[in-house]
């Protein structure tokens, strides 16, 4: 039984982590493409229109990957988490279905027009389709975050006689305060991915002395958007969310910070290894009182450690929560530093000649992916041992009818299939990057469309 719980968790974790590689880029790029289109259309600047077309090609390939790896997610609630689905369907089914009804239909309708319809529309109509794609993808993020937020912080529910959760308020569910904070943080994280990738590819082109004109647009837009998003991610977004988690899931914050003992003037551990057997942090580099300040605005306030809660309510993997949180914060800080520096050089008009700064931008490209993934690992392993916080334990949620052999079989199947997909995807992206932003939309690069009647 214990084995099946962990296996089902790994099954879901693997498929969703692979899935989220793609939406974080497409949601970020959707916004940046609107920015590029807006500049291109209002100033009639062809550099920006060309840039928008190029990023639409990258967007399209990532979008397809996001769609095909997203479909399994909706089914996996039922396949591997049947008891959880049975009891929560009346509530979680609402935002999950809203995503399909309100955003996927819209996205699928406008994406085709946006990608293949530029010649058939006025420039403002085409701009409008890019806005519709942006709204569709950001709405889709909203509904999914609201579903996750309910699992993190259940609100507006009652429990029926047979144990099912039932909604008591539509707006209560859709405006869950936890979800609003989580949404800001997630979307800002997606914008960071979009802008770091855009700036990084621009830096790559400049460093390899190719497509200079387009590359400067990429770096310019990427650095400005990246600066705004990385700053926003820390304050107000990260700060507000951290406090809210501290208020409503205190054991989670204690695990994130590696705080085993309740204490006044609680330290913030920058580096260290939690030892859950001896309840200590090894090799700590810590700043006393900083955690108290972050949570309560007072350096000597008492912060509750894990010892204040029964062991059965501790997250089951404290080192994983601790490390993923620290990786997220650490990489976020590095990206913020690089963006501050690049923005300063851009302002001084020295960035495009400053090779080491361009190298930094290029080397940052993997960081937002790792940081976003680590943030989700923090949130979802930090919520443990609950599948619905405080109401339903993860051990009560998995499908008892499915054997470990079946779960292994399909987990390995997903690994093989996604491994193959990764190779094909990277090959295609590499080809788009090699052709570069000046490539005409040739027969080889345009997806099939039929002509209007």
């Amino acid at each position: 039984m214990e084995h099946q719980i962990i296996l089902s968790r790994i099954h879901f974790a693997f498929t969703i982590m692979f899935h989220y590689i793609f939406p974080q880029l497409t949601m970020g790029l959707a916004l940046l493409i609107v920015v590029l289109k807006t500049v291109g259309v209002t100033r009639d600047d062809q550099r920006y229109n060309r840039a928008a077309r190029f990023w639409a090609r990258i967007f399209a390939v990532n979008f397809v990957m996001g769609v095909v790896t997203g479909i399994p997610m909706e089914f996996q609630f039922g396949t591997n988490w049947a008891r959880f689905s049975h009891l929560t369907g009346g509530i979680l089914g609402q935002p999950v279905t809203m995503e399909g009804v309100f955003s996927f239909f819209m996205e699928s309708a406008f994406l085709g027009l946006f990608l293949f319809g530029e010649q058939r529309m006025t420039k403002w109509q085409h701009w409008g389709t890019s806005v519709a794609v942006f709204i569709g993808s950001w709405l889709s993020g909203y509904f999914i975050i609201m579903a996750d937020a309910w699992m993190q912080h259940p609100v507006a529910y009652s429990i029926t006689a047979d144990g099912q959760f039932s909604p008591t308020s539509f707006w209560g569910l859709l405006l869950n305060h936890w979800g609003l904070l989580e949404y800001m943080h997630t979307m800002s994280g997606a914008v960071i991915t979009g802008s770091v990738v855009m700036a990084g590819l621009g830096a790559f082109y400049i460093l390899s002395d190719k497509h200079q004109e387009a590359a400067r647009v990429f770096v310019h837009v990427g650095v400005i958007a990246g600066l705004i998003a990385t700053l926003f991610q820390v304050f107000p977004s990260g700060d507000a969310q951290g406090r809210y988690v501290a208020q409503h899931q205190p054991p989670t914050v204690a695990a994130m910070e590696g705080l085993f003992q309740t204490q006044k003037g609680a330290p913030m551990v920058v580096i260290g290894q939690p030892n859950p057997e001896h309840l200590t942090i090894q090799n700590p580099i810590a700043f006393k009182g900083v955690l108290s300040f972050l949570v309560y605005g007072n350096f000597s306030a008492a912060v509750k450690g894990l010892d204040a809660y029964p062991r059965s309510d501790w997250p089951d993997n404290i080192p994983l929560v601790f490390f993923s949180y620290h990786i997220m914060v650490g990489l976020g800080t590095i990206m913020m530093g690089v963006m501050l520096l690049s923005a300063f050089l851009l302002w001084k008009q020295r960035l495009f000649d400053c090779r080491w700064a361009l190298w930094l931008l290029l080397l940052c490209v993997p960081f937002p992916y790792i940081a976003n993934t680590a943030g989700w690992v923090t949130a979802e392993t930090g919520r443990q041992p609950w599948i619905v916080y405080g109401l339903m334990r993860t051990s009560e949620g998995y499908s008892t009818m499915v054997s470990t052999g079946d779960t292994w079989f399909t987990l390995l199947g997903f690994m093989g299939l996604y491994g193959l997909l990764s190779i094909l995807f990277l090959f295609l992206v590499q080809e788009i990057i090699r052709q570069g932003p000046e490539a005409p939309a040739s027969a080889a690069t345009v997806a099939p469309v039929s002509s209007p009647g």
Binding site: V67, A82, T97
Partner: protein, 344 residues
């Protein structure tokens, strides 16, 4: 209230089968009808702007099932675990095949995705048919309304059936030929010249197979699940629906022979909808019958979400779907007519 949601879920399934059905059908016939690269591009252009919207119906439909009948969603998805996972892999492979195929000019690359596209489409059609038949035949539900079915046991629809037995294999065949026919008619509508003639001939050939297999399946259903006749015998007016199946099927052949492709596509869609409606009427109020103790069957009453969930969902679901349908009308009008013969 649960009856309303029974109809709405049925509507989602029917819309999905009719819409994604034609692009799945085109996919099955992709390597059969398309002999050259240009012809295959032509086929892909016909479904290019439509297939991905069509696929949203299964996502929205799955969500609606999760929302309205959580116990049915939980029980059937975990019980049909193995075939569902295979279905997911097929959906992934198929989506990638369509989207990636045209991006690189290399016959190795395109041939790989052409075959992957056809095989995954055929697999999907067969899966849907078999899944449908599993619901009609019933599954070994326990007292908690859960079950687990292996992919196959002894291929007999007895008390311990597998996903595949002779009954569900026939149904897989029905879906395979019916969706192929539906796709061939769509190709005939969207093309002209040689391809149109080829597609019409394929559709007529497939028509014969649809008649034979669908008739066998309906007969087999009555034989192995006689209780499915109950609703019809108590309300004989419903016999209009299965009669409609026969009528629409005859009309498909008539319109094909007359070269009226649009009418043929509509009647083929009506045929698919009536097949689903006929099964839904036979099952109601059950949604997943038990193959053993009838007490364990899942019905709209024991599988439904709380009344508050169902009431609340209706407020946003109906206007939301109205808007979604408006998008569809808009897109289909935008891309109506023949798809261009040659891609420059």
């Amino acid at each position: 209230m649960p009856t309303v949601w029974f109809i709405l879920v049925g509507f989602m399934i029917a819309a999905y089968v009719v819409l994604d059905g034609f692009d799945i059908g085109v996919g099955i016939l992709h390597i059969v009808l398309g002999h050259t690269d240009i012809e295959r591009r032509m086929l892909l252009r016909a479904i290019g702007p439509l297939w991905d919207g069509n696929e949203v119906w299964i996502i929205a439909g799955g969500g609606t099932l999760f929302l309205a009948f959580p116990l049915l969603y939980a029980s059937s998805f975990s019980g049909f675990y193995m075939p569902l996972m295979v279905l997911l892999w097929l959906l992934v492979g198929r989506g990638v095949s369509v989207a990636f195929r045209t991006h690189i000019n290399s016959s190795v690359w395109t041939n790989f995705f052409d075959v992957a596209f056809s095989l995954s489409s055929a697999g999907l059609a067969a899966f849907y048919g078999a899944a449908f038949a599993n619901v009609l035949r019933g599954v070994p539900l326990n007292s908690q309304h859960f079950f687990f079915e292996p992919l196959w046991t002894n291929f007999m629809p007895g008390a311990h059936p597998g996903i595949l037995d002779w009954f569900t294999v026939i149904a897989a065949g029905v879906a395979l030929v019916a969706l192929s026919m539906h796709g061939a008619i769509f190709v005939a509508l969207k093309t002209s010249g040689t391809m149109q003639v080829r597609a019409r001939n394929a559709a007529m050939l497939l028509w014969g197979a649809v008649v034979f297999l669908a008739a066998s399946e309906i007969l087999a259903t009555v034989l192995i699940r006689p209780m499915l006749k109950t609703n019809y015998l108590t309300h004989p007016g419903w016999f209009a629906v299965p009669s409609g199946v026969g009528v629409t099927l005859l009309l498909v052949l008539y319109f094909l022979a007359a070269g009226k492709d649009r009418a043929a596509l509509y009647t083929s869609a009506a045929f698919l909808v009536l097949m689903i409606a006929g099964a839904a009427i036979a099952l109601y109020p059950a949604v997943l019958p038990s193959s053993g103790n009838p007490q364990y069957s899942l019905t709209i009453y024991n599988a439904q979400a709380s009344p508050a969930s169902l009431r609340l969902a209706l407020y946003w679901w109906l206007p939301g779907m109205a808007v979604a349908i408006a998008y569809f009308v808009f897109i289909y009008r935008m891309f109506r007519g023949k798809s261009a013969v040659y891609l420059p």
